[in-house]
């Protein structure tokens, strides 16, 4: 019963904070959005814990709530966006957004409804602990792992190039 309650609590927190990232009625400041994004990510990490994906919950907090959000806040503060806040949201954009979200909702609803319900029988709960995940990562998924490391290197070189004074 308690995990169920925790699920509903964390899900509500996730969706509420997600909504406040996108459309905060009180503040149009990007810093507020970033702060609510941190909260969204933290409650998502809570949902990961409920799903027993402990390693991913830790990575979520470390990488997303830590590194990525610091990067976001750093850039927001660097750009000095004081004058950017007050502009009306375009009606057309809001309308287009509403229509596409409704279309997506219908699509997902149909997909969930039509999908076969054959879940495997509830066995022992799957533990997403560091050990089992690491074993899989370094045996079966070794090549993608190495490719991702190269990708990170490429991204690092690209960022350094992009932040040079004159792009030559």
């Amino acid at each position: 019963m308690i995990p169920d309650l925790a699920f509903y609590l964390l899900a509500a927190l996730t969706l509420l904070c997600g909504f406040l990232v996108v459309a905060n009625p009180l503040s149009r400041n990007p810093v507020t959005s970033a702060m609510f994004l941190v909260l969204t990510i933290a409650s998502l990490a809570g949902l990961f814990v409920l799903l027993r994906a402990f390693f991913l919950a830790a990575v979520q907090v470390l990488v997303y709530a830590g590194a990525v959000m610091v990067l976001f806040l750093f850039v927001i503060m660097l750009l000095d966006l004081g004058a950017e806040e007050r502009r009306a949201i375009k009606r057309l954009g809001l309308l287009a957004g509403g229509v596409s979200v409704a279309a997506l909702a219908v699509l997902v609803r149909t997909a969930i409804h039509e999908s076969p319900r054959a879940l495997p029988p509830a066995g022992p709960p799957l533990e997403g602990a560091t050990g089992s995940l690491g074993e899989l990562l370094f045996r079966q998924y070794l090549l993608p792992f190495e490719i991702v490391s190269v990708l990170l290197l490429v991204a690092m070189v690209g960022v350094i190039l992009l932040s040079k004074k004159d792009l030559k």
Binding site: P3, D4, F7, Y8, T14, L15, G18, V21, V22, A23, P30, S33, A34, L37, T40, I41, L44, F48, L51, R52, A53, L56, V63, Y64, A67, V68, L71, F72, V75, L79, L81, E84, R87, I89, K90, G93, L94, A96, G97, S100, V101, L104, R109, I112, L119, P120, P125, L126, G128, L136, L137, Q140, P144, V148, L151, L152, A155, G158, L162, S163
Partner: protein
């Protein structure tokens, strides 16, 4: 569905709602940085769906995929924000409607 034991369906519904919120942000908001945050929201919604499916199907491959998604998203954020800063040096705005030189 209400009051029932929390299953895969509930997680997928949360994930779909979160994805819709992200999509709404990308389309309706006009600040480049907020659009970027909404993109992160969509990625996180996909991650939640993958972890939920992996957990309920007793298959760890989904969690490995989420690990890769988080890594790639971090690289994407770094490059994207560097691009935004470079753009801001050229034209001091983060409002997408001020950046229309490629528009017909």
């Amino acid at each position: 569905m209400t009051g029932a034991h929390v299953g895969l369906e509930q997680y997928l519904v949360v994930s779909a709602l979160l994805f819709s919120l992200g999509l709404l942000g990308v389309i309706a908001r006009r600040n480049l940085l907020v659009i970027y945050m909404s993109l992160e929201l969509m990625l996180n919604a996909a991650n939640l769906a993958l972890v939920a499916c992996s957990s309920f199907h007793h298959n760890l491959a989904g969690q490995v995929l989420v690990f890769f998604i988080i890594t790639v998203a971090a690289a994407e954020v770094a490059v994207g924000l560097a691009l935004i800063v470079a753009l801001y040096r050229l034209r001091p705005t983060t409002h997408v409607e001020d950046l229309t030189s490629l528009k017909l």
